[in-house]
Each structure stands twice: as structure tokens, then as C-alpha cells.
């Protein structure tokens, strides 16, 4: 299962690669990364058919995660990828907006990787 992680913090990449190293080794998951909403759209433009799940931070400079979510829901509906939003501001308003714009799930920072792993595994089954 191919997962695209969108976050402006570059160190998110090695962190995911190491947190999921067993799953990657066993080809359960495959990760790609984008450093901004704009980056993510570029990526999807070429490879949207491969990506099953998008994990996106909400609070990024430039295009926010919520905007990215709206664009994805507008432009890529066949097949629609799953989108999970991640934010440090785990407030009602963000949650409501994310759900309204069609997010599949909503996670708050700091990420609980055990929980995330379980969620991903349920999805991939």
C-alpha cells in the first residue's frame, strides 16, 4: 500500500521510514513524501493512481492541509484516495472543517505511532 506523507518538517521522512521499517522491509507499506501542499499536488498529478492513502499536516506555510484536502476531493475522485489529517491544533474547528471537506480520519500531534500503525493495518486488510 502506497502512502503519501505531507509535512513541512523534513525530519518527518526519516522518522516514518524508521517507525515503519519492519512494514517497509516486508513490503506491507511504501512511503513517499511531500514538503508542502503544492508539492503534494504535483506528486498526485503524476502518480495519483498509485497512492492509496494521504497523511497530511494541516498547519503548513503556503497551502494549508485543509486546502489540499479540498483540492484532492475536487480533482481526484476516481478512485478517491483516503486522506487522514494531522495537526498540532487538535481543536473542534479544525476537526469539523477536516470532516466537512471529506477527511477519512483526524489525528493530533504528537502522533501515536502504535495507534497509527493499527489504523493503517486495518485499512490495508
Amino acid at each position: 500500500m502506497k502512502i503519501l506523507v505531507v509535512d513541512d518538517e523534513a525530519d518527518v521522512q526519516p522518522l516514518f521510514l524508521q517507525r515503519f521499517r519492519r512494514e517497509i522491509r516486508e513490503h506491507e507499506f511504501e512511503f513517499d513524501f511531500a514538503l508542502s501542499g503544492e508539492d503534494a499536488l504535483h506528486y498526485l498529478h503524476d502518480k495519483h493512481s498509485e497512492v492509496v492513502l494521504i497523511l497530511s499536516d494541516i498547519n503548513m506555510p503556503g497551502m494549508s492541509g485543509l486546502e489540499l484536502l479540498s483540492r484532492i476531493r475536487h480533482e481526484y475522485d476516481a478512485p478517491p484516495p483516503m486522506v487522514m489529517m494531522i495537526t498540532a491544533y487538535g481543536d473542534e474547528e479544525n476537526h469539523r472543517q477536516a470532516m466537512e471537506r471529506g477527511a477519512n480520519d483526524f489525528l493530533t500531534k504528537p502522533l501515536d505511532f502504535t495507534l497509527l500503525k493499527e489504523k493503517l493495518k486495518t485499512l490495508s486488510e
Partner: protein, 742 residues
């Protein structure tokens, strides 16, 4: 600065401003010829010490002699006086306990004798001892007792001097300028009633101190000059020296170094006392350090250090050690700096003088920092902070509002002038009519009548004079009140901007902390894997994992430092400005505050978003600025810019994309910082108002209206720079800051 006050209190209190040179000669002559152990000798011995400051050994033997004789003769008044004089000498020898115990004895004796005049002097001395060790509350209590005792003597000149003393304490140690002004005015009134030029000069110099402390230089200079002129009539060189030294101090502390040097040099020509010479030369050394004229700085520092040692002026040594340490720091010789600062610091611990503990610990922190001995650097930095905070440094940072109340002052003064003119006119009229009357009759009746008229007119005139004086007093009080309020407002603006930062900082710090926790957990798992591989003998796999662990450790370290930097930045922002300019990377500073402002607003308003564009010149040279001050300006401009975009977003549809651009560039001999937004812009009719204090377009309670005016002050007055504003209503604004490189 405190050093000056020390000497001033000593001299103005105890020499009682009567130090005419001739009297000194006469007393010295009497002491040489009159060796009999009688009350006259006791009185002369004490009088001399009240007139001038003697070298320590001589002072010691004379004070002891006076005490011995007065006790032998059972001459109680002499004993009280001798005890006070001796206590001051002992204090100079740094034996505080002994000094205070002698004073206690003199107070008890004076009370028994019901000798209010000496009681007032003893309490005043106790007050200055307490003030010298920073116990300003106790100092004030003793000064009140001293004034109460003086009141009972009915001696208005003495009362005036004690009131001037209280004023001085309020102005320099307590920082309550309103109270200081009230007492100075009382002192002036009593001095006028006593018609005592000495006491008048004392009250004027108290007022000058207040004006100095509230940053009103023109008035401070005016009052010092008044005191100085009065003093020239009295021929008291000792006081002339003190006033010149104070003027020098004022210039020194307001960075007007050439003027300071001039005043110090003139002061030097008025004194032969080793003490005064040392004080002045050490102050000159400090000025030369600040001027980066290190050869002159070292010259005066070493001369004055030698004299300080010779005359046992330990506090002087502490002060000069600190100057030398700073000079060596400028030469980048941290070892020498540590040598002198350690000396000064240890002595300051011994004498308990907070100011010099503070200065020397700051120098030590800097020196250890250069040596990369961060343990010690941190230790002294913390000490420095605690000393600095324990001193109530009523820091007057700028003059934004001076204009406002100068306006009301000018209005009052115009009234006073017109009243004065009226008074003059009436005077001419009266003189004229008196002349005519004499011409007409010159009879007794006419003379009698004219005399009565004159009396009436005089009553009228003195009534008017009283009114004018009352108005002047009121104005001065209002002035001091306003200054206090202004300082409180500036502080509250700083706190408000800190509040805006807090949320941003919390967010900024959350990310590195998450990384630290995550990578630490990953490493724990990987170490277990490493152990498994080693047990199975898979060396290559084990080495690969070890490499990953190492890389992760570096990341932990990196994010730890990142969090550390954020906390440091926050501490710097909340701290009162140190006013120390240091080479600063403006790109880094701008980036930091842009992020903080963004996250701060983001935390307050979840729907907030804006595109941030940075055009930083990578070749931008560092520039000497006070980083937290410039940071505060940037924070203010950026927050305003974001606010302008959010206002626009409320008005127009969702096609609008809020954008903020921060750029830096080298522009000739200055650095240009631009903060540009595409927000609502500034309407033409308020363009010339936005830099005024208290002007705000935000709803009541949201803005202090001080942000931009403080920014203007920081850039223009604090850094010799410029702020320009370009704005079109409805299209956006651009704030352009120019900071000169040198």
C-alpha cells in the same frame, strides 16, 4: 552611577554645604596651634571632617581623638558629634557593623540629650549607610526620622536639606518621581524661607536628579546649572566639583561622551582630594572604554586603581576592576578580563555592593563565554541576572510622551510669563505713581498713603507670586506623574507583545519535542534489534543499525538545540532591553519573528492563514543592533501586516489570497528591511497619525496604540535608522526600515 551618589550624600549631608575654603584654612590653623584637650579642640576636629573628606588614616586618628577628649571631659554634645564622624570613617574602612553600632550609640545619646539637630544628622547618616547597601526601604525610614527631628529644630535650612535627602532617595533608589518631586519642592520652599543659598542649591540639585532620572535632560541641566551658579557665589569648590561630576555622569549615562569628558575635566580642576580625583578618573576610564579609546581607558583605569588602593576605597576598586575587565574584553583578552572581574567580584561580595557584583559578574560571564567555558559563563550569567533584577533599575527607555506633557508645561509656563509681565507692569506703575506723589506734595500724609499703597501692592504681588509658584509645583508634579504612567504603558506594551508570542512559541517548541521523543523511542527499539543481530553474529546488519542509531542521535541533538534556541529567544524578548548592541544576523532574526508571529496568530484564530514569502539577501552583512528591540519592531510590523490581511479577508470573497513578504537587502551603507502585505492598506487621512502614541484602529482593548510609536523610537532614536511607509488604501502597505551599518 551609584558611586557618584555615594560621594554626594556623604559630602552634601555632612559637610552641610559650608565648605568655604577659608574656613577650612582657619580650622586647620586652629588645630595646629590649639593643642589643649578641651571642647574647642573637639569641635574643631569634628568641624574639619564635616568640611572636607580627609585621607583615611588621618580621618581615623582625628575622629578617635575627638571621641576620646569629649568622653574624658564628659562633653556630651561633642561625644554625639564625634560618634557620627567616627562612624563615617569606620564605614569607609568597610566595617559596617562597627559603623552602625557607633551610630546607634550616638542616636541613643542624642535622644537622651534631646539634641534634635544631631539626631537628624545621625539618622541621615544611618539612612545613607542603608542606601549604600541597597536597603532603600530602611534608608527611607531613617530619612523620615531624620526629617522629623529636623522639623523640631525649626531650622529651615536643616529641614530643607533633610527634605532634599528624602527626595534624592525617592528619585534614585525607589524610583517614585512624583514623591521625589513633592519632597524637592518642599525643600526648595524651606530653603527660600530660610533664605539659605546653600540649601537652595541642594534642592535644585535634587530636582536635577529627578529630571535626570526621568530622562528630561534640558530641565536637568537647567537645575544643575542653577545650583552651580549659586555655588560660584558661595565659593564652595567641593560642591562645584560634585555638580560638575554629576553633569559629567548625566552625559556619560546618555552616551554623550565628549561632553562628559569636558565636565569631568573641569571637575578635576576643582578638587585636590585623592578620593574625588580617583572617582573622576575612573569615570573617565569608563567613558573611554565606551568610546573604544582603549589606551586612554587603560591609562585612567590604572591611575585610578592605584589611588583607590592607596586610599582604601574598596568600592572604587570594584568599579575600576569592572571597567578594566570590560576593556580587556574589547581587546579580546578574556584571561586578563577574568583576573580583574574576579578581583572586583570578590571584593563586591565582601562589601555587599550589588551594582558592582552585577557589573563584574556580567564581565565574567562574557569572558568565560569567549573561553568557551560555558559552565562558568552560565553560572555568572545567572548571578548577573539575579543582581540585575534585585536592583530596582527604573529604566527610562524613551521619550515618546515627553512631547505631550512638554506641551502642557509650555502652556503653564506661558501663563507664568504673562503673570510675571503683569507684575512688572504693576511695579512700573507703582514706581511711577510713587514718584509723582513725591513730586506733588512730599508731605507726610502723602508719603504715608503711598506707603500704604505700596504695602497693598506688595501683598497683591506676593499673592500672585504664590499662585505662580503653586502652578509651577503642580505642573512639575503632573510631569512626574505622566512620566511614571508612560513607563507603565511601555512595559504593558512589551508584555502584550510577549502574550502574542507565547502561543507561537508553544507551537514552535512542540515540533522539536515530538521529534526528540519519537527518535528516542525508535532508538530504543533499534538497540534491541542491534542486540539480536549481535547475538546471531550478523555483524554487518548490526553495523548498519548502529549507523542508523547514530544518525538518530544527531537528530535528537539537533532538535534539542532547536528547542533550546526558541526558549532562549523567548527569554530575550521578555527581558527588559539590555540596550547592548551586538552584531546580528537580520535574516535569521526576521525569519524567527515571522514564524513566531504566524504561529501566535494561528493559535489565536484557527481560520487564520496567509502565504509568507521571504526574499532574504544571502550576502547580507551583520549589523550592530539590540536584537530584542529590533525583534520587537519586526514582530509589531508583521503582526500588523497579518492583521491588515485578515481585515481584508473579512470584507472580500474567498478569491483573496493573503500574502506577506519580508525582504532584506543591502542598500548602500545601510540594511533595508521591508515588510509588505496585500491587506486593507492605510487610509490617507490617518497616514500621518499612525506613528503617534496611543493611536490605534483596533477595537478598544485590542491594541495599546503604542506598538508603532515604540517601533519608530527604536529605529530612529535607538538605532539612527529610518522608517518609511508606503500604502494604498485597499491594496496593501509596505513598511521600509533602513538601519545604518556603522
Amino acid at each position: 552611577m551609584k558611586k557618584t551618589i555615594i560621594f554626594l550624600t556623604l559630602i552634601t549631608c555632612f559637610t552641610g554645604l559650608h565648605a568655604q575654603e577659608q574656613r577650612v584654612k582657619k580650622v586647620e590653623q586652629d588645630l595646629k596651634t590649639h593643642k589643649q584637650q578641651d571642647t574647642l579642640r573637639v569641635n574643631r576636629l569634628n568641624e574639619l571632617q564635616n568640611l572636607i573628606v580627609l585621607p583615611l588614616d588621618k580621618a581615623d586618628s582625628m575622629a578617635n581623638e575627638a571621641l576620646l577628649i569629649s568622653r574624658k571631659l564628659n562633653y556630651k554634645e561633642g561625644e554625639v558629634e564625634s560618634l557620627i564622624v567616627l562612624s563615617r570613617v569606620i564605614y569607609r574602612k568597610n566595617d559596617q557593623r562597627q559603623a552602625r553600632s557607633l551610630l546607634d550609640q550616638s542616636i541613643a545619646l542624642a535622644e537622651k540629650l534631646d539634641d534634635k539637630e544631631h539626631l537628624a544628622n545621625a539618622y541621615a547618616t544611618m539612612s545613607s549607610f542603608n542606601n549604600l547597601t541597597g536597603e532603600s526601604k530602611q534608608a527611607l525610614e531613617y530619612d523620615f526620622k531624620s526629617e522629623a527631628a529636623a522639623q523640631k529644630t525649626q531650622n529651615k535650612a536643616l529641614i530643607s536639606r533633610r527634605q532634599a535627602g528624602i527626595s534624592g532617595l525617592y528619585a534614585t533608589s525607589v524610583g517614585d518621581y512624583t514623591k521625589a518631586m513633592e519632597w524637592a519642592l518642599k525643600a526648595e520652599k524651606n530653603a527660600e524661607e530660610a533664605n539659605d543659598l546653600n540649601a537652595m542649591a541642594g534642592s535644585w540639585s535634587a530636582m536635577a536628579t529627578i529630571f535626570t532620572n526621568i530622562g528630561d535632560q534640558p530641565n536637568a541641566i537647567a537645575y544643575y546649572q542653577k545650583a552651580l551658579d549659586a555655588n560660584k557665589k558661595l565659593g564652595n569648590q567641593a560642591l562645584e566639583f560634585n555638580l560638575l561630576n554629576r553633569i559629567g555622569e548625566m552625559y556619560r549615562l546618555t552616551d554623550k561622551y565628549p561632553e562628559a569628558i569636558k565636565a569631568y575635566e573641569e571637575g578635576l580642576s576643582k578638587t585636590q582630594l585623592p578620593y574625588n580625583i580617583e572617582l573622576t578618573q575612573s569615570n573617565m576610564a569608563d567613558v573611554y572604554v565606551r568610546l573604544n579609546n582603549l589606551p586612554m581607558a587603560f591609562k585612567y583605569a590604572f591611575i585610578s586603581l592605584n589611588s583607590a588602593k592607596k586610599i582604601n576605597d574598596t568600592e572604587g576598586e570594584e568599579w575600576i576592576d569592572g571597567i578594566l575587565a570590560r576593556a580587556y574584553l574589547k581587546l579580546n583578552k578574556p584571561d586578563s578580563a577574568i583576573y580583574y572581574a574576579t578581583n572586583g567580584y570578590q571584593k563586591a561580595i565582601h562589601t555587599g555592593t550589588i551594582e558592582f557584583k552585577r557589573d563584574n559578574s556580567a564581565a565574567l560571564a562574557n569572558a568565560y563565554n569567549i573561553k568557551k567555558d560555558y559552565n562558568n559563563a552560565y553560572k555568572y550569567y545567572r548571578l548577573f541576572i539575579s543582581y540585575r533584577d534585585s536592583m530596582s533599575n527604573a529604566e527610562v527607555s524613551n521619550h515618546t510622551n515627553l512631547l505631550q506633557y512638554n506641551y502642557s508645561l509650555a502652556k503653564k509656563q506661558a501663563q507664568i510669563t504673562s503673570l510675571n509681565q503683569e507684575k512688572k507692569m504693576q511695579y512700573y506703575f507703582l514706581a511711577g505713581s510713587a514718584g509723582i506723589l513725591i513730586l506733588i506734595g512730599a508731605t507726610g500724609i502723602v508719603l504715608y498713603r503711598s506707603n500704604r499703597q505700596k504695602q497693598k501692592a506688595n501683598t497683591l504681588l506676593s499673592k500672585q507670586k504664590r499662585e505662580i509658584e503653586e502652578q509651577r509645583d503642580q505642573t512639575n508634579k503632573v510631569l512626574a506623574d505622566l512620566k511614571l504612567t508612560q513607563n507603565q504603558l511601555i512595559q504593558s506594551e512589551k508584555m502584550a507583545s510577549l502574550g502574542e508570542l507565547t502561543a507561537g512559541i508553544a507551537h514552535e517548541i512542540q515540533n522539536p519535542l515530538n521529534f526528540i521523543n519519537n527518535f528516542a523511542e525508535v532508538n530504543k527499539e533499534m538497540i534491541e534489534e542491534l542486540e539480536d543481530e549481535l547475538k546471531n553474529g550478523n555483524t554487518d546488519a548490526a553495523l548498519a543499525i548502529a549507523n542508523d542509531i547514530k544518525a538518530n542521535e544527531e537528530k535528537i541533538n539537533h532538535h534539542g538545540k532547536r528547542a533550546d534556541g526558541i526558549v532562549k529567544g523567548m527569554l530575550q524578548h521578555s527581558r527588559a532591553s539590555s540596550n547592548v548592541k551586538e552584531p546580528t544576523d537580520i535574516n535569521k532574526l526576521a525569519d524567527e519573528y515571522l514564524r513566531l508571529a504566524y504561529h501566535g496568530l494561528r493559535a489565536k484564530d484557527k481560520s487564520f492563514n496567509a502565504e509568507m514569502v521571504t526574499n532574504f539577501d544571502p550576502k547580507l552583512p551583520q549589523v550592530e543592533v539590540v536584537p530584542q528591540d529590533i525583534g520587537r519592531v519586526l514582530l509589531n510590523l508583521i503582526t500588523n501586516a497579518f492583521y491588515a490581511t485578515q481585515q481584508k479577508k473579512k470584507i472580500i470573497n474567498s478569491d483573496y489570497k493573503p500574502t506577506l513578504t519580508v525582504s532584506t537587502a543591502l542598500n548602500g551603507k545601510s540594511i533595508r528591511i521591508k515588510v509588505k502585505d496585500n491587506g486593507i492598506g492605510i487610509p490617507d487621512n490617518i497616514k500621518d497619525k499612525i506613528l503617534q502614541p496611543f493611536f490605534t484602529t483596533k477595537p478598544t482593548g485590542e491594541g495599546t496604540g503604542l506598538g508603532l510609536s515604540l517601533s519608530y523610537d527604536t529605529i530612529v532614536k535607538g538605532h539612527n535608522g529610518k522608517i518609511n511607509i508606503e500604502s494604498k488604501e485597499g491594496e496593501g502597505s509596505e513598511f521600509i526600515i533602513d538601519l545604518p551599518l556603522a
